[in-house]
Amino acid sequence: MADNKDIDEATGTDTTGHDWDGIKELNNPLPRWWLWCFYGTIVWGVAYTIAYPAWPLVNSATAGLLGYSTRAEVAEQIAEVEAQNAEVAAVLASADLSTLSPDDPAHRYGVAGGASVFLANCSQCHGAGAAGVQAGGYPNLLDDAWLWGGSLEDIEYTVRHGIRNDTDPDARWSEMPVFGDILSDEEIGQTVEYVLALSGQDHDAALAEQGLVLFEEQCTACHGDAGEGIRDLGAPTLNDAIWLYGGDRETITETITYSRFGVMPAWGPRLDEDEIKAVTLYLHQLGGGE
């Protein structure tokens, strides 16, 4: 090849020998400055992998001489933000929510922070938009119906102690009997027709009339004479348009026959005091707060 050089006349440089329509590419050496920069980047690259976490090992990766870690950096940033918020968070933690003014910085901090607490801890059951999931019996928190009360105090209690859990002795508790063991299928059918009538839905008037007797015997103790529900017992209102599990004939039959037993964990041990108050404030201002 050496004796085969194709020297370009104008520049005296040899060419690559590639020929496109009579145009040949000069085979100039790389500029020295460029080459040194290139070598420099190689050295830099190797040094970088030594200084910073880089090479994957079986279970981890090389830590790097500088001991840098993005995770530690994030932890540091979180600690920084928490330190910034410490003062207002302390105010919120010790505040009486019913007297906290909406213009108070602690209130604003609570509503904004409560949204994050909700997304991280509550949205799994209640949905990111807090609209609940009817199929699972997770209540909608946006509407104006509350099983255990929608005042700030009631919401805070429910969040702190939960519902029907084994861990908190103060958890809200009530239990609907399994009427499949008490009533016959026919009687249950009659009761269902009456409950449908209560909420103004299509029903069989004759069966409902018989159901009224059964309802007064079996249900009014908890659900009230007109099916208006009793909050102290967490017994739902039956004469409104809102249903925890569903208001059609089939679902009501299932509810009466087998009962329901929705559980909510107690968040008192899991969340900080200011987080409980924050999520309470957040829930209360979603449109249904009392």
Partner: protein
Amino acid sequence: MTQPPASPPSLYAAREPIFPKRVKGTFRTLKWWIMGVTLAIYYLTPWIRWDRGPNLPDQAVLIDLAGRRFYFLWIEIWPHEFYFVAGLLIMAGLGLFLFTSALGRVWCGYTCPQTVWTDLFILVERWIEGDRNARVRLWNADWSLRKVRLRVTKWAVWFLIALATGGAWVFYFADAPTLAGQLLTFSAPLVAYSTILILAATTFVFGGFMREQVCNYMCPWPRIQAAMMDESTLTVAYRHWRGEPRGKHRKAEGADQLGDCIDCMACVNVCPAGIDIRDGQQMECITCALCIDACDEIMERIGKPRGLIDYLALSDEEAETQGAKPRPIWQHVLRPRTILYTSMWSLIGVALVYALFIRSDIDLTVEPVRNPQFVTLSDGAVRNTYTLRIRNLTADDRDFRVMLTSDEILRIDVETDGPVANHVTVPANETMQARIYVIARPDDPAADAVTTDLRLWVEDVETDDRAGVSTIFNGKG
């Protein structure tokens, strides 16, 4: 081309220093005026005051990056109105198309900052080191105390101008008197100093040392302009047919055969781009027209008509060589192409002015809550939630009534209202978020429909100015 060169020729050419000579004339006077006016606009604008009331800055032209506002006299541009700036840039672009197709590189020759500042730097150079011949001598002279003194003086003056140039720039971004005080007491933000220094450095180097190289090698605009010029575009040109053959010796034998050009080099000596216009149109020519002034002066002195070098189009040169009469300038300027550019330019201008006058000082955006789309209430009513962003573009707090219009019956309920139901107060110059509920009663058609169209409004309680946005209501359907 007889012998191939022994060694390959170098592909690199060092810069030839240029020493433009002083010149007097129509175009030089025009350029002095343009330089004075443009520099005055640049340096003085930030100092013009403009009273906007107590809550707003009183600087006539201010780019408030932190507050995200652009103030221009009585106009105040918010970030969402950036289309005004885009419109102005499009107008600037079309304006350059227009001027380039009519007058070639007239922007380069008269108003480009590179030209204006270089002109200013050459003026300083001439004051300190003398005119062309003196400067050439100084350039060739060995270093001496005098040369050092002149050079240092010149550089110092250049640097002061450069510093003032960078300094004026930062005043557009902050309150000028305050910032000036801070700069002098060394308490201004670091970014102000670094911006001033960077711009001072570029001004000093571009205006003092790189000069025409910026136009030749760095600036893309001349190359773009070259593509927009045609044979009717006016450029600075030499009347070849009249000047040639050129000759100095007017009294020598055969002088009557010579053209009007006496080869005095006046046109070359004054050229800031260092070219000879008699070689024809060249890439380096910025059409500053100084060679026209220089040549006219000579022509007058030797009793020949002016205009041996003149604003000419390529087509003129050919026609005149064939013996045609010079065409009047308006025939070059008024052409379908330039008329088209002018009408496009004016159309956008009129549209912008129109938009400026009809723009509202209330701005409303509506974001419906989509998770969930609706909430059923205990009485069977259906509720939708919307987040309103109400922008108050004035300097006073304003009370707004929030309303809705729809073909169906819907009720509105503003959550964040004040003492009066469904009223909100938006502070001056701020955007406020308000959450509102729209409710359809159980027996209203909207409750069972899939969607219902509605329009949400905010209306100023005092002035009845309103802004509306169309959105939809989701029902159970």
